[in-house]
Amino acid sequence: MVNIFVLIKQVPGTHNLEIDKKNGALIREGIETMINPDDLYALELGLKLKERYGGNTTALTMGPSQAEFALRECLAMGVDEAIHVCDQIFAYSDTLQTTLVLKEVFDKIKNYDLIITGSQTSDSSTGQVPYQLSEALDIPLITDIFSIELKNGFVQCQRNFGHESQNIQVELPIILRVRKHFNKPRPLSLLGIKKAFEKGIKKFDFNSLNCPDSIDGCNKSPTRVVKTEKISLQRKNEIIKGTITEKIQKIIEIIQEHGIEKIWVGGAHE
C-alpha cells in the first residue's frame, strides 16, 4: 500500500494584490484564495495513482488558519486525509524554513512513500521546496515526468530532459515534482464537497512537532524580502513628424537615448 502525500499551498486568487505601505509586504487578508494552480496537477496524479495501485492519499499544507479551506478543496477532490501545519511562529517562513518544518512533519509521519509537489507557486515562483525537501529528507527527487508506474516498492518513470527521454527506476520513498498539464485536475463533485466537511483535519503546530529552536519563520529565514513593489508597464505615445528620413533619424535618436549603441537599419549585414 503506497502512502501518498501531496504538498499544496494556498495562494491569492488574483494578481492584483495591494502592498502594505508600512512594511512593503503583500496584503493577504480578506482576499480571495485558491489552491496553487500547479498543485492541482500534483493532486490529480496522487489520486490517479491511488486509483491504480490503492493506498492512501494525504494533502498537506503549511499555512495560516484560512488555508484549511484549501485542504477542504483537496478533500472534496477525493484525497483521504488532510494535514494542516499551522503556527504563528511559522509565519513569514522562506522556502528553507518551510522545508525545515516539513522535514519535522515527515520525520513525525515516518511512513511515506511518495511525496508529490507542483513545480512552483504562483505567488512566489521559487520552485525550491521540492529540491530542498529532497536534501532534508535525503530521498531522491524526480522532476518533469510524463509517465509513471509503481512496482514492488519501485517507481518506474519516464522523464523529459531537454531532447532526451529518460527511463528511471528508483526505490521508494521519493519526491515527484510534476509539471502543469501532465494531467487534467478533476472537478469538485457536489458529493465530494459535502463529504469534505464531514472529515477532520489533522493539525500540527510548533509544539506538537517538537520543533528545534532553529525554526522561526520570521527571525531565522535567510531570505529577506526587503520590499515588494508594484510595477506598471506604461506605454508612451509619441507621434513623429517629418519626412521618412527625418522620422528614421528621430527613431534612432530615441533608441540611443535608451542606451542602445549599435543599430542596424534595413537588415544590412556587416
Partner: protein, 414 residues
C-alpha cells in the same frame, strides 16, 4: 511585528480537530440572522463556478446558436452529481439541501442559462416529485438512473389551451381494468426531447365515474408516447422544449405517482420547489450581465474617461448590484424555509417573480452599458437578455406569482 512563542501546552497533536468543526457548525445554526454562507457553501459556489467556467463557457454560445442540447456536457455534469443534487446518497446522489441546490443552479446559469434550465427542471420538476411522493419501488427504479444522468427527467402540465389556468387541462386518463389509457397533448415541455421520463399531470376518470387530477411517471419508451416538434425559442435555446402527444398510452398502477387524486397538490408543490430553481437561474444570469457591465464600464473609454466615471453608467451598476443582493436574499430565504420543511408558496413566488424581473431589467441595462457591442452576438449580453426573459414566463408567469402572493396575503399570511 512581534511573534510570541506559545507556551508549551500538553496537546494531543495527532488528534483530529473536531472542536473547530463543531464550533463552526454552532455558528451556522446561530439563531441570530446570519448572512454569511458557511465554508461548505463557499466551497460549493467556488467548485461549481470553476466547473461552469471550464466546461460550460466554451459551449454556451454554441448550444444557443445551434439550439441543441449538448450530451457531452450532460456527461460532465454527471461527474459532479449535478443530476442528483438532492437525491439520497444511497441512490447515487449528493443529498444536498435546498440552499446548496439553489447555489448550484445559480452558478451553472451564470455561465450557461440553458444548461441551468435543463438541470433545474430535471432536479426540481422531474426528480423531486419522485423523491417526495414516489413509492420505495419507484425510487429504486428511477432514482439511480436519474441521479447519474443516465436518464433525464421533465415535468409536463401545460397544454395548448391551459397555461396559467392549469385546472383547464384536457389530457384524460380513463381507467381500464387495472390501469389507465391516456390521450391528449402537452406543449412547452422542458427537456421534452431528451427526457427518458416525464412527470405528467393529467385528468383521470375511474370506471365508477370518479374524476380529478393525477400525476403519472411516464417512460418515453411506452407505446403511444410521441415527442412533438422542437420549439424554436427566443432564448434558452440550448434547452430542449417540445410538445408531447399521448395516443392510447397504457399506464399501469405502478406509474401513478402518489395517490390517484393527488395530481393538483403534487403539481402545485412541485412548482413551488421549481420556482426557487428558476429564481436561482435568473439570479445567475443577472449576475453574469452585471459582472460584464462592471468590467466593461471600467475599461471602455469615451470622452477621455472610463464610462464608469459617468454617473449615468455608475448608477446603473449601483442599481444592478442592489437588485441582485435583494434577489439573493429572497432566494436563499425561500430555500432556507424549504430546508425547514415550511410552506414556501408565498416566498417561492416572491423570489421567482422578483429575480426574474430584475434579471430582465439587468440584462437589458447591461446591453445599454455595452452600447453597440452589447447588441452584437460577439458578446454574450444579448443572449443573457433573451435567456432572462423566459424566467418571467415558465413555472408560472409574473402575473400568476403576484396572484399567489396576494392570495396568501389576503388569506392572512401577511
Amino acid at each position: 511585528m512581534v511573534i510570541t512563542r506559545k507556551t508549551k501546552q500538553d496537546k494531543k497533536s495527532l488528534e483530529i480537530d473536531y472542536k473547530s468543526l463543531s464550533d463552526k457548525r454552532k455558528l451556522d445554526n446561530n439563531p441570530i440572522l446570519n448572512f454569511e454562507p458557511n465554508e461548505q457553501l463557499k466551497l460549493l459556489r467556488y467548485g461549481v463556478r470553476k466547473f461552469a467556467e471550464d466546461v460550460l463557457l466554451p459551449v454556451a454560445p454554441i448550444v444557443d446558436r445551434d439550439a441543441t442540447f449538448n450530451w457531452e456536457t450532460a456527461r460532465h455534469l454527471a461527474k459532479i452529481n449535478a443530476w442528483g443534487i438532492e437525491v439520497p446518497e444511497k441512490y447515487g446522489g449528493a443529498q444536498l439541501d435546498s440552499i446548496s441546490h439553489a447555489i448550484t443552479i445559480e452558478e451553472l446559469s451564470r455561465v450557461c442559462a440553458s444548461t441551468g434550465l435543463s438541470v433545474s427542471a430535471h432536479n426540481s420538476l422531474g426528480v423531486y416529485p419522485i423523491l417526495r411522493w414516489g413509492t420505495d419501488e419507484q425510487k429504486e427504479r428511477y432514482l439511480p438512473a436519474l441521479a447519474s444522468g443516465k436518464m433525464i427527467a421533465g415535468f409536463s402540465m401545460t397544454e395548448p389551451n391551459a397555461g396559467s389556468d392549469v385546472k383547464k387541462i384536457n389530457c384524460l386518463a380513463r381507467q381500464v381494468g387495472k390501469g389507465f389509457l391516456l390521450n391528449g397533448s402537452k406543449i412547452f415541455v422542458t427537456n421534452g426531447g431528451i427526457a427518458s421520463i416525464l412527470i405528467v399531470i393529467s385528468r383521470y376518470k375511474t370506471e365508477n365515474g370518479k374524476k380529478g387530477m393525477t400525476a403519472f411517471i411516464l417512460d418515453n419508451t411506452m407505446d403511444g408516447y410521441e415527442i412533438g416538434k422542437l420549439e424554436d425559442k427566443m432564448g434558452m435555446r440550448g434547452s430542449s422544449t417540445t410538445s408531447i402527444y399521448f395516443n392510447d398510452l397504457f399506464i399501469s398502477q405502478e406509474n401513478v405517482l402518489g395517490l390517484i387524486s393527488d395530481g393538483f397538490k403534487i403539481a402545485m408543490n412541485t412548482l413551488d420547489v421549481g420556482r426557487i430553481g428558476i429564481a436561482a437561474q435568473a439570479l445567475g444570469i443577472a449576475r453574469a450581465a452585471y459582472e460584464h457591465s462592471v468590467e466593461y464600464s471600467k475599461r471602455r473609454i469615451q470622452f477621455d474617461k472610463p464610462i464608469a466615471n459617468f454617473q449615468g453608467i455608475s448608477f446603473k451598476l449601483a442599481e444592478m448590484a442592489t437588485k441582485i443582493e435583494t434577489a439573493r436574499l429572497l432566494v436563499y430565504k425561500a430555500a432556507h424555509m424549504r430546508n425547514q420543511g415550511r410552506d414556501i408558496s408565498k416566498e417561492a413566488a416572491m423570489c421567482k417573480y422578483y429575480s426574474s424581473q430584475i434579471a430582465r431589467d439587468i440584462t437589458q441595462e447591461a446591453i445599454q452599458v455595452h452600447g453597440g457591442y452589447g447588441y452584437m452576438k460577439d458578446l454574450p449580453l444579448e443572449r443573457y437578455y433573451r435567456d432572462a426573459k423566459a424566467c418571467e414566463i415558465y413555472e408560472g408567469t409574473t402575473e400568476i406569482m403576484k396572484m399567489i402572493i396576494s392570495q396568501q396575503i389576503l388569506r392572512g399570511n401577511v
